[in-house]
Symmetry: C2
Subunit: 83 residues, 2 copies
């Protein structure tokens, strides 16, 4: 069975995010004063083959640990849905 997994990878809150800071400055300089903070992360959409939703989520989390996220600087979360 095929599943679609969304892995959200964000820098840990303690890690400086220059890309987010640049976007925040850009929004402010465009006069958008109601912006408070901006953080930029990665969204990785996987299509994968697994026996069930729990197995698919475990696979996505394992791959995030192994390859998709850097556990020193980043945290991730996975959401899985059948395709």
């Amino acid at each position: 069975m095929k599943f679609k997994a969304e892995v959200k990878v964000m820098l840990k809150p303690s890690v400086l995010d220059p890309q987010g800071a640049a976007l925040e400055r850009a929004l402010r300089s465009m006069g958008r004063r109601n912006v408070d903070s901006v953080r930029v992360g990665k969204l990785i959409e996987l299509v994968l083959e697994a026996d069930g939703a729990a197995a698919a989520e475990a696979l996505a989390a394992a791959w995030a640990d192994e390859l998709l996220a850097n556990p020193v600087m980043e945290k991730y979360s996975c959401v899985v849905a059948p395709l």
Copy 2:
């Protein structure tokens, strides 16, 4: 009132995604054969000030149009939640 908006920015399906292709190849070369496809996008987390959820979503979408996404190559979606 403060809201947290998540703007997901993905390349349009017709646009080649070399970063996703590289991750897919890497997973396969690590022996993870049940991966089918990988696409990589951006996840932008904004904290913003707005009068209500609808206004916050409209703001996030306007900013995505103006700055956060490239409408030629990317599509985006916004999800807003009160903070």
